[in-house]
């Protein structure tokens, strides 16, 4: 049985990380060369970790399923990256950033980790800037910032609406530098299919070569998962369509606790679903809410065109309900408010599942050019998809599955409950509580990769300098490989009638309806039984043409969908268990008289960490009780 020990250093909040670094063990340069580290995933956290650990002299093997590390889904992040630089002289500080994240996460994150994320944020901006990331600048040549939801300072650094791309290409460039230096070996088009443990420690992975189908063994002294989130469980989401939960899920099945799986962020401003065959929802950055105003008609069924509806007939419902933050309320609040208006019959567009995001006033005030400078590529993207020009008409937007605050449980060192297995970036649960604030995912992923994991993994590896290079012919690898091959064989031998995607789509619908923006006990119970039926059908009626010894995209999908089905069950189990509302987790049974989330700190101020107990058994819940020593637990209000 696992035990949760967060290993939070003693001392005042602002000294914990310094104290940790001062007392962490080191590894000499000569020994670093003898130590191997596997990293799975090449996004901001994975590529960042590979380059910084390569720079230190470790031997790195890094894997991704894409054809190139430059395509990891960090590339799609749009609006920006936070840091507590206080360049705007508007009262920002490390503590303020920390506090905004703790409050934004509705007091369900660990204080020490969040403070550290805020603490290293400035280093991230310095580093990306030095790597040549073209952040937006003022005329004097200094860096510009803008505002994001849930905060009252301007701390978000950006490159138009493609900040993720620019940061990722920066991370990719530093990764390439280490590949050239010989410290990093890159394995593209590989999918991790299992983790291998030897004497309880993570010692390697099994991968499938997606071109040849070859099953491969890779060994190391430690393994880092940087595999992102599981928002694609909804099928339709803002994630890349191949993003998946499989690596984290394999880790869970091997003994890594999975924390807060039900904490999923539904992003308020995505282009709405327009039809049934849609494969993807495209995000429109939160930064647009700096200048765009969200509204619906005051009259139900108002069929006039948006531009023909006069000011007095418009309901700017975010400004009305939340005067202090207005259009810049946090994502969970904005999403629920949009759903509330649409469910009440005020939605716009042919499905009624959309609200207006209007730039008319901003264009009038600042001019078209200023708006184009800030959001040009987003406006173009919107037009390409919808054939509507947002310079002339309001955008139509609706919430979509986006980011997962839940993930593998990690301690202060970002180590999971499996010794030697670390999880960084979105794949861990650590910094965002029950709701993430905008522009803090790039910040956390980069901070984890560049400035935290190098210290904490070194502390772990200091105890491994006597461990010889792991040989891949060990029996533990034989067993893991055998299990992987058997599962592939089982998937291929079903020979039913339905495609993996069709199952995925149905799973997504179950999760969206019952475990999305709003949840309740009956709905979640229903979801459980629907998931069981779906799993049964999947394993009896799946069809995959072709074989496992070639490039077979249907086989890849099937394996991921099988894991999503299992993960969905855990998400619902967790959502059922948490009989309170907090952040993005909104239980209808627990709300205030005006429809806001009602937390229950007496019973639920904990991280729910689930332990796998075998396929047919209920997972075991472990609670990490959250202690708030430096902030006061308060009702989270943006009014």
């Amino acid at each position: 049985m696992i035990t949760l020990n967060a290993k939070i250093p003693d001392g005042p909040l602002e000294e914990k990380w310094t104290r940790y670094k001062n007392s962490a063990r080191l590894v000499s340069p000569a020994n670093k060369k003898k130590l191997d580290i596997i990293i799975v995933g090449t996004g901001l956290s994975g590529a960042g970790a590979a380059s910084s650990l390569g720079e230190l002299g470790y031997n790195i093997k890094i894997f991704c399923y894409q054809d190139s590390p430059r395509r990891a889904h960090s590339v799609a992040a749009q609006g920006g990256i936070n840091a507590a630089k206080n360049y705007k002289n508007d009262g920002d500080s490390t503590f303020r950033l920390f506090y905004d994240m703790i409050k934004g996460g509705d007091f369900r994150a660990r204080e020490a980790n969040v403070y550290r994320a805020a603490e290293v944020s400035n280093l991230v901006i310095d580093h990306y800037s030095a790597l040549g990331v073209p952040f937006a600048r003022e005329y004097g040549g200094t860096l510009d910032t803008r505002s994001f939801g849930g905060v009252q300072v301007s701390r978000t650094f950006y490159s138009k609406g493609q900040t993720g791309q620019q940061c990722l290409l920066g991370a990719y460039s530093s990764l390439n530098r280490q590949i050239k230096a010989g410290t990093v070996t890159m394995f593209p088009r590989r999918e991790m299919l299992d983790i291998v443990l030897i004497d309880g420690k993570a010692r390697g992975i099994i991968t499938r070569n997606l071109i040849t189908g070859a099953i491969e063994r890779h060994t190391a002294h430690a393994v880092i998962l940087a595999t992102g989130g599981y928002g694609t469980v909804f099928y339709l989401s803002t994630l890349a369509v191949n993003s998946n939960a499989s690596a984290a899920w394999k880790a869970y099945r091997k003994g890594a606790a999975f924390a807060n799986p039900s904490f999923v962020q539904i992003h308020p401003t995505s282009i709405p679903q327009l039809n049934d065959f849609q494969s993807k929802l495209t995000l429109m950055s939160e930064s647009l809410r700096n200048d765009g105003r969200v509204w619906v008609p005051k009259q139900k069924g108002d069929t006039r065109k948006a531009n023909d509806i006069p000011e007095e007939d418009r309901d700017y419902y975010l400004e009305r309900r939340y005067p202090a933050f207005g259009n810049l309320v946090p994502r969970d609040v904005a999403s629920r408010a949009a759903k509330e208006r649409c469910d009440a019959g005020f939605g716009v567009g042919k499905t009624g599942l959309a609200v207006n995001l209007d730039f008319r006033d901003a264009i009038k005030k600042q001019g078209k050019k200023a708006i184009e400078e800030k959001y040009g590529n987003l406006f173009e993207m919107y037009k390409a998809i919808t054939n509507i020009d947002p310079y002339d008409e309001p955008m139509r937007i609706y919430p979509a599955g986006h980011y997962t605050m839940g993930g593998l449980w990690v301690d202060y060192e970002l180590m999971t409950t499996i010794p030697g297995l670390f999880a960084i970036g979105e794949s861990n649960f650590s910094d965002h509580g029950a709701n993430r604030l905008g522009a803090s995912s790039l910040m956390q992923a980069a901070g984890d990769g560049y400035f935290i994991i190098p210290y904490t993994i070194t502390n772990y590896l200091a105890g491994e300098i006597r461990t010889q290079r792991i040989e891949p012919d060990r029996s533990e690898f034989d067993e893991a490989e055998k299990a992987v091959r058997e599962r592939i064989k089982r998937l291929l031998s079903i020979k039913g009638k339905q495609t993996a995607s069709s199952f995925h789509k149905r799973l997504g619908k179950i999760m969206w309806d019952h475990c999305g923006m709003v949840r309740n006990g009956d709905g979640l119970q229903k979801a459980l039984s629907l998931i069981h039926e779906l799993r049964n059908e999947f394993w009896n009626d799946l069809i995959i043409p072709g074989s496992d010894e070639e490039l077979n995209q249907e086989l890849e999908k099937a394996g991921r969908v099988a894991d999503f089905i299992d993960l969905a069950e855990l998400m619902v189990t967790d959502a059922l268990d948490r009989k309170e509302s907090c952040g993005a987790h909104f239980r209808e049974e627990s709300q205030t008289s005006d429809g806001e989330a009602k937390r229950n700190d007496d019973d639920f101020a904990y991280v729910a960490a689930w332990e796998f107990k075998g396929e047919d058994n209920r997972p075991q819940l472990h609670k990490e009780h959250l202690k708030f020593e430096f902030v006061e637990l308060k009702e989270r209000s943006y009014k």
């Binding site: 190139s68 310095d126 580093h127 800037s129 030095a130 600048r137 390439n176 369509v241 495609t499 070639e550």
Partner: protein, 244 residues
């Protein structure tokens, strides 16, 4: 809509490929091009036939995974769009659409519409970076960059590495691709210290990977889904001559 598809099918890198013809009913003009291919693949898989393999991921025009030759144009006939953003409303009812993989010596076909673009990564490994290690960076605002230069660097930096420039060029040149990166770094003070070494090693790797020389026709610029400009190639040439 009803459409006819002629798609290049090739089992693997060593097999010989050929065109296969498919007909699809019930295609909605609202579908994206890839969703149309999803529909084709669903119908193939349900008949236990091998689906058409193609690279795709973000489906929002930024990862650079997708890319195919559509009716003789990389990413299809509409300017400034990646294949995933191409909508079926741009095609006519009853139209025959021809779909091929990128054709370039440096991008060998792996299967159907999937090609091997690792040559791009190799060029970047050769020199597409600024040599600064984590921890060594100065405070960000201690290095000021003229806004005009920074904006121009951004315009160059938005390349998604899809390979359309190579596919559209009769010489299969990668000049637009590498010039975008060279430009980005050459326009910022952070990139100057290594400018010479960078341009020499990237150009030499580009030649080694089998890409041709610039054809001076500008096909790359007109076909680039991110509309990267030819002026980048001029900057590349300038940086290259300066490096001797």
């Amino acid at each position: 809509m009803r459409i006819k598809l002629k798609i290049w099918r090739q089992k693997d890198a060593v097999s010989k490929g050929s065109f296969a013809t498919y007909e699809l009913d019930n295609i909605s003009p609202e579908m994206s091009f890839l969703e149309m291919l999803d529909a084709l693949n669903k119908s193939l898989v349900e008949k236990s036939l091998e689906p058409v393999a193609f690279d795709h991921d973000c489906r929002e025009g930024i990862c650079g995974s997708c890319g195919m030759y559509i009716n003789g144009y990389p990413h299809g006939p509409v300017k400034g769009l990646t294949t995933c953003h191409l909508s079926m409303r741009y095609f006519k009812d009853g139209e025959t659409i021809v779909i091929e993989p990128w054709r370039a010596k440096a991008f060998p076909v792996i299967k159907d519409l999937i090609v091997d673009r690792s040559a791009f990564d190799k060029i970047m490994i050769a020199g597409g970076f600024i040599s600064v290690s984590a921890g060594a960076a100065p405070e960000a605002n201690s290095v000021n960059v003229r806004k005009k230069n920074s904006d121009a660097a951004f315009d160059s930096s938005i390349c998604i590495g899809c390979g359309a420039c190579v596919a559209s060029c009769k010489n299969a040149s990668a000049m637009l691709f590498i010039s975008a990166k060279i430009s980005q770094y050459s326009l910022m003070p952070q990139g100057r210290p290594e400018a010479k070494e960078r341009v020499m090693s990237m150009v030499s790797e580009m030649d080694k990977q089998g890409f041709g020389n610039c054809s001076n026709t500008g096909a790359c610029e007109s076909q680039c889904p991110k509309q990267i400009k030819l002026v980048n190639i001029a900057r590349l040439n300038r940086e290259y001559f300066k490096a001797f």
